[in-house]
């Protein structure tokens, strides 16, 4: 499904959560939506899933607004970090309700996952541990097979092994059937290899939207003596620089062959670090 975000803004009581954000997600891919706390990620995902309306601008999914639009909401599944399900419902009834809601629901997958994550079908949601409740979210998100599936920090309380299982599952399902998966998380190092494209929000604005592998190729750190590095970076956009003992490292975006030719040391920058430097820089400016 094509997702068009047009000049999207949202304010809460005078505070701006999203400020004139525009971009298009053309294809079913695994997208990483990153940003610091309060960057506007959750607000964006809430508008996308039709839970709330924008103050101005709009999101169109296949040309339609998702708010109060049943045909569309059946195709969108948003799993948040908690309180996804009514506390008094039993696990098996949660699954039943969602199976009625999503025409694409995969009951067999849901059953397999209930077993995999050791959930008791007759337990009530309020009896589940944090990790178990997160597992239930993951199960619903995966089994919904919704063409647009959104995970907003879905795994509070899930241990490392259960998270790994979730990543494997996500890839398996994605390979079997391409769908748009939007994944927001702070555990970037763990999942950045899954992303095909990365979006970074900072204080309500989109600061970056790029193919993940292009980022790894274009974002780099050069190190060498201070004079050499200073000479190389002059006139270029520097994301961050630091120095120690006469040596300097600068983080830049662009082509790096030139730097290597003049004898500077060139290294790639992991997406997690890039996110940190990019969002730091905005604050200082």
């Amino acid at each position: 499904m094509k997702i068009e975000v047009k000049q999207l803004s949202k304010g809460y009581r005078g505070k701006t959560a999203l400020n004139n954000v525009s971009f298009t997600l053309e294809e079913p891919k695994i997208y990483g939506l990153l940003g610091r706390n309060g960057a506007g990620k959750t607000t964006f995902m809430d508008i996308l899933s039709g839970n709330i309306t924008a103050t101005s601008g709009e999101i169109l999914i296949d040309g339609e607004n998702p708010f109060d639009n049943q045909r569309l909401t059946e195709s969108i599944c948003l799993i948040k970090e908690g309180n996804n399900f009514p506390k008094d419902l039993k696990v098996k009834n949660v699954l039943k309700i969602f199976s009625y809601f999503y025409p694409t629901w995969d009951q067999q997958l849901a059953d397999e996952l209930i077993e995999e994550y050791n959930l008791v079908p007759n337990a009530k949601v309020k009896q589940l541990s944090k990790g178990m409740e997160s597992a239930l979210g993951v199960i619903v998100g995966m089994a919904s097979k919704a063409p647009v599936t959104i995970f907003d920090e879905p795994y509070i309380g899930l241990d490392a092994a259960a998270r790994k299982k979730f990543y494997e599952l996500l890839l398996e399902e994605y390979e079997a059937e391409k769908r748009t998966i939007i994944f927001s998380t702070h555990l970037i190092d763990e999942v950045s290899l899954l992303f095909e494209e990365v979006l970074i929000l900072q204080e309500g604005s989109l600061v970056l939207k790029e193919e993940a592998d292009r980022l790894r190729d274009h974002c780099y750190a050069v190190s060498g003596t201070i004079e050499k590095v200073e000479a190389f970076i002059s006139g270029k956009t520097v994301i961050k620089k630091k120095q120690l003992a006469g040596m300097m490292t600068a983080y830049l975006y662009g082509g790096w062959t030139e730097a290597r030719e003049i004898g500077l040391q060139v290294e790639g920058v992991p997406i997690q670090d890039l996110m940190i430097y990019l969002t730091e820089r905005k604050k200082e400016a």
Partner: protein, 125 residues
């Protein structure tokens, strides 16, 4: 096969280089099938599109060939093509850093040449 990938470098490039290395050291031979996109994705937990990009570049370079419905296979000329390709970058990838370091260590041309000629056991890799 590496156990994990390096986050600092494009992933498709690492997939590509890994296949190239396997072909170079004969662990995958001409005519043999290489792992599929999905096998790479599952092994490293990476996005399948990224793995596909690395594999497709090798197809474009005629190092791999796609047989519809069966998979990707190493071409007859794969190793020759790779040797040719690596010879082209040998100077900048190996000689240049070597000479730079030698200069820093004040190792002269003569001493360097002596080292080149020194005999040592052959490294199989």
């Amino acid at each position: 096969m590496k156990n994990s990938l390096d986050e600092n470098k494009p992933i498709f490039l690492q997939i590509k280089e890994q296949l190239e290395d396997s072909i170079m050291n004969d662990s995958i031979q001409a005519g043999e099938r290489v792992p599929s996109t999905n096998e790479f994705a599952a092994f490293y937990k990476i996005n399948p599109a990224t793995a596909a990009k690395g594999i497709n570049e090798l197809v474009n370079e005629a190092i791999l060939v796609k047989r519809r419905g069966v998979g990707m296979f190493v071409t007859e000329d794969a190793k020759e093509i790779l040797i040719e390709k690596r010879r082209k970058t040998f100077y900048e990838n190996y000689m240049l850093p070597l000479k730079n370091e030698a200069r820093k260590l004040r190792i002269g041309e003569k001493e360097l040449l002596e080292m080149v000629e020194r005999e040592e056991p052959v490294d199989e890799n």
